[in-house]
Every structure is written in C-alpha cells, then in structure tokens.
C-alpha cells in the first residue's frame, strides 16, 4: 500500500484578472521506505502541490490520501504527516530544542509525557542533547535544520515532506542532513523531497518526478532515468599524455589500431564506444599506466534541464 497517493491534483489562481493554472493533473504515489525527489524550476507548482498534500491549500480537483486518509476531510490524516517547509523556520526561535519538541509533540496529538520521552530520544539521535536548553536562535543553521527535521518526526509520521532541507547549509551540515534523510527512509517512512540541489536529489532519491508549468513531465525510477539518458561510451584516462614523442615510443601501429577501433583520442583521454571495444583498447594500451576508466554517465542536472528545455520549446 502507498503511504501517499496523489491523484489528478489541479489548482488554478486568479491573478490580475487572469486565470493561472498552478498545478495541472498531477498524480504520483510514494511507498514506505521510498524517497521521491519532486523537482522543478521556481514557479513550477512544487510548493502548491506540497501544500495541497499538507492540507494547507484546497485543490480545485483531485485527491490526496495519506495512509489512506484525506487530509482535507479527515484531520487525523495529519497524524501521519510531518513537514519541513521551505522559507519557513518551522520552529520557535525563542524556545529551546527541548521545548520545541515537546510543544509540537502535543500539537501533533501526543500526550505531554510521550512528547517528553520522544523529545529526549530525538535530541540524542540528532546529536542535540548538549544544546537542549539553548534557545534556538543561538544555534547554528545546521542545528536549526536538524531540529526542524526532528520536530517533524516527533509524532513518528509515515510521510515526511522535506522542502529544500539543505538550503543554506554548509558542507558538513548538508552531509548530516543527507545521512538523516537516508536513515529516516530506511526506518520505513515515505519521503517527498524537493530541492534545487540536483546532486543531492540524485544521491538520495529512489524515484524522480519532474514538474514544469504545473504538469509532471517525467516520473521514473532514478537509476533507470539516469541509465536511459546515459551513453555507452567509455573514457580511458592515461596517467601521461599521448605526446608526439610518446606515440613514437608506443609505435605508430598501436596508435593506428586504436583509431581502427573507432576510438577518439584527445590529450590523455581515449574514448571507445562499446564494452567489447574497451577490452580491445586496453589490450592495445598495455602496459601504459591508466589513471581512470569511466562510463559516460548522465546526471540528474542534465536530464532535468533536458526535460525543462524540451517542454519550453514544445
């Protein structure tokens, strides 16, 4: 069973007398232990979709079900939802981490006693115990973000919405948040992740949905999507450049053999098209020192831009 089911969501706004379709027929599901990267340029409809899932915006059409319950009609559906929203602090800066966790725990339906117990566990787990009595405004940005995620988990929701969770974080804090996202998904929660940092989306997501102008233009398993857009070209990088003298030493016939395989030679890199040809090229190059062999791999940034641009020209 899917933890989140989004069916044909639609939302239009009236702006200066004109109707703007913010979200058009958006559908996707997320299962337990799954991270869906929900990507799109600014103004594509990501935030509107997320807010419709969280019950903060009423859709014109379509439905949302969190653990089988509609957040717009059944408030109990929100017991299964935790959210860290972009552009928001999400926590009270005047309170301490402990006070934030306890307060939001009760707000999410826990008893005070359970909220206190869970707060202690989460403070330990998120390495914030030593700061539990410090007001949030004096914590580092990374700690504040960790706390916002901890607060979103206080009631142990099945679905976690993470809108730009690494925005504005330094390298170390980003690594920590990435590790936390992995752990949280591994525990069995479904995660909807939006980010403009596509390398992070690529690293963390099981599936990707790309939205543009309110419509989903691609939705696929992340590995399959990258494989689909990756070529079959191998790049062999040699430790020393193939200088004219070196080619003389190597022998012109070996150079010719590489060319006859259809290999492209550029500085100290040799490009061959297929796996079979790779081994033949390696035989030819023996015993030269090889620095790196890599298959041409597309990345999510290229794929994302391709979809967005194709959609633009269409």
């Amino acid at each position: 069973m899917h933890v989140l089911e989004v069916q044909s969501l639609q939302k239009s706004y009236r702006l200066s007398g004109k109707v703007v379709e913010a979200v058009r027929d958006v559908s996707f599901n997320i299962s337990a232990q799954e991270v869906l990267a929900f990507l799109g340029p600014n103004g594509a409809g990501k935030t509107t979709t997320i807010k419709m899932i969280a019950g903060l915006i009423v859709p014109d059409r379509g439905s949302v079900a969190i653990a089988g319950r509609n957040p717009h009609r059944q408030p109990n559906a929100l017991r299964s939802l935790g959210a860290v929203l972009e552009g928001n602090r999400n926590i009270y800066w005047r309170l301490t981490p402990e006070e934030n966790l306890e307060y939001f725990g009760v707000l999410r339906g826990l008893s005070g006693r359970v909220a206190r117990q869970r707060a202690k566990v989460l403070l330990d787990r998120f390495d914030l115990s030593h700061k539990r009595k410090t007001t949030v405004q004096t914590l580092s940005r990374g700690m504040q973000q960790k706390l916002a995620i901890a607060v979103a988990l206080i009631h142990e929701p099945q679905l976690l919405l993470l809108d730009e969770p690494t925005l504005g974080l330094d390298v170390e804090a980003t690594q920590t948040v990435k590790q936390l996202v992995r752990e949280i998904a591994h525990e069995g929660r479904a995660i909807l992740l939006t980010t403009h940092q596509l390398d992070i989306a690529e690293e963390l997501s099981d599936r990707v949905a790309i939205i543009n102008k309110g419509k989903i233009v691609a939705q696929e398993n992340t590995v399959d999507l990258i494989r689909q857009f990756s070529g079959t070209v191998y790049e062999i990088e040699l430790e020393d450049g193939l200088s004219r003298d070196f080619l003389e030493t190597l022998g012109r016939d070996r150079f010719q053999k590489l060319k006859s395989l259809g290999a492209l030679i550029e500085k100290n890199c040799i490009y061959v098209r297929e796996t079979e040809l790779l081994y033949q090229a390696l035989d030819i190059l023996k015993p030269l020192a090889i620095a790196r062999i890599e298959k041409d791999q597309a990345n999510l940034t290229d794929i994302f831009l391709k979809f967005i641009r194709e959609d633009y020209y269409a």
Binding site: T48, L56, I57, N88, Y92, W93, E102, L107, R108
Partner: protein, 257 residues
Amino acid sequence: MLELLIAQLKWSSIQYRRYASEAIGGVIALTATFYGLFLSASYIGGGSVRFGDRLDSVIVGYVLWSLVIFIMGGIPGTLQREAQVGTLEQLFISPFNATQILLFRAIGDLIIQTFLISIVLIIIMVTTGRWLSFSPALILPFITVVLGAYGIAFAAGGLALIFKSIQQLLGIFNFALLFLLTIPTETWSGTQQVLGWILPMTTGAGLLRDLMARSQPLALPLLGLALLNGLVYFALGVSLFRWAERAAKRRGKLAGY
C-alpha cells in the same frame, strides 16, 4: 484537549518569562495610558471635576477595555507573528483544528495577561486612592465579556487571514471598544436598553461596574442576557474564522503576510 491546553499555557509562560522586559513594558504602558486618560479628563473637565463613583466605573471600564483589547488583538496578532516567524503553517498541520489551537493559545496568554492587569489595577488603585470591591461573583460577568471578546478576536483573525494587514482596522476597533465597555448601558431604558443588550459585551461590562464600583448584588436575569450575548458573538466569530480559513486555503493565502 487538556494536554493541548497545558502545552499552550506552558508555551505562553515560557514566552513571558524569557522575555520579561516586554511584559514589564506592557504593564508600564497600560498604567501610563490610564494615567494619561485620567489626567486629560481632569484637564477637560477643569480642576474641580469630581468623578465620585464614576471614577470607579472608569477604572473598571479601563481595565476591562485593556483586557479586551489584548484578547481582541491576540488572535490576529498571533496569526501575523506566526506567519512572520515562519511557524504559522505548522499550526495548521495538526490533527487539532486551528480554532482550538488559537483559542487555547489565547487562553494561555489571557491568564498571564490577567495577572499583569491585576498588577496594573493595584497600581491604579494606589495612585487614585480608590479601592474597588472584589467579589467572587465577578467571574461570571467577566466570562460573558471575555466570550464576546473572543468572538470579535476570531472575527478579526478571520479578516487577518483574508486581508492580511488589518492593523488600521484594529486601531479603529480599539476606540469602538472604549465606547462599548465604558458606556453605562445599565442605566438605559426602553429601546436603548434593548440596544444595550444587543451590543457586544456591554451588558457584561455593566454588570461588572454594578458589582465592583456600586457594590450591587449580581442581577441574574441580566447575567443570563450577558451570557447569551457573549455566546452569540463567540459563535459568530468562530464561524467567521472557519469560513475565512477555508477561503484562505482555497485561495492559497494561508501564510504570506
């Protein structure tokens, strides 16, 4: 529900304790405003003006006015502050509805504010030399006034959700309230008396004046009317707020002030 109320009380007390200077500043401002009002009334009326039991009424009216202003500004103020600090949406992502959360938050704030206003009252009594009589029966008309005030607060909160900035409107409300709470409707008769019963909070405020300033016994029929008045305004305010919440969610304007 009780857990939520306790959590809200704790939330409010932490805010006041941690930022005590703001609370103390509030007490000073309230006391100074009253003193200003008192002095200007004396100036306009001439040095020979004698308030007599009217001064007691003015004191009760003023204290009540400041408390009701606090209640009335509480809910729209909370919505605006939460939106500014970026926590508003987290309040709406809760299995409790926003009305419950805001009401409990407002009750938590009111308990603390009542304590602060008690201090103001004591300062006012010391400075004017007038000692008001307190009776446990005060709580009943006080509740009727507070109910009406919460009704208006929810209505104002609803307007804040839809129109966002309502500070100027709240400013006008404050003066309308001064009229509602200090006008002696308990002395009106005939059609005027009926109007007094319909106006928000005035009947309860009149009962408070009778009890505190005139040391009269509690008039139960009037208390019934005051309670009905408070309940009707409370229900109207909550209904308006819920409508505004739905409208804001339809228009995608819940946050963003």
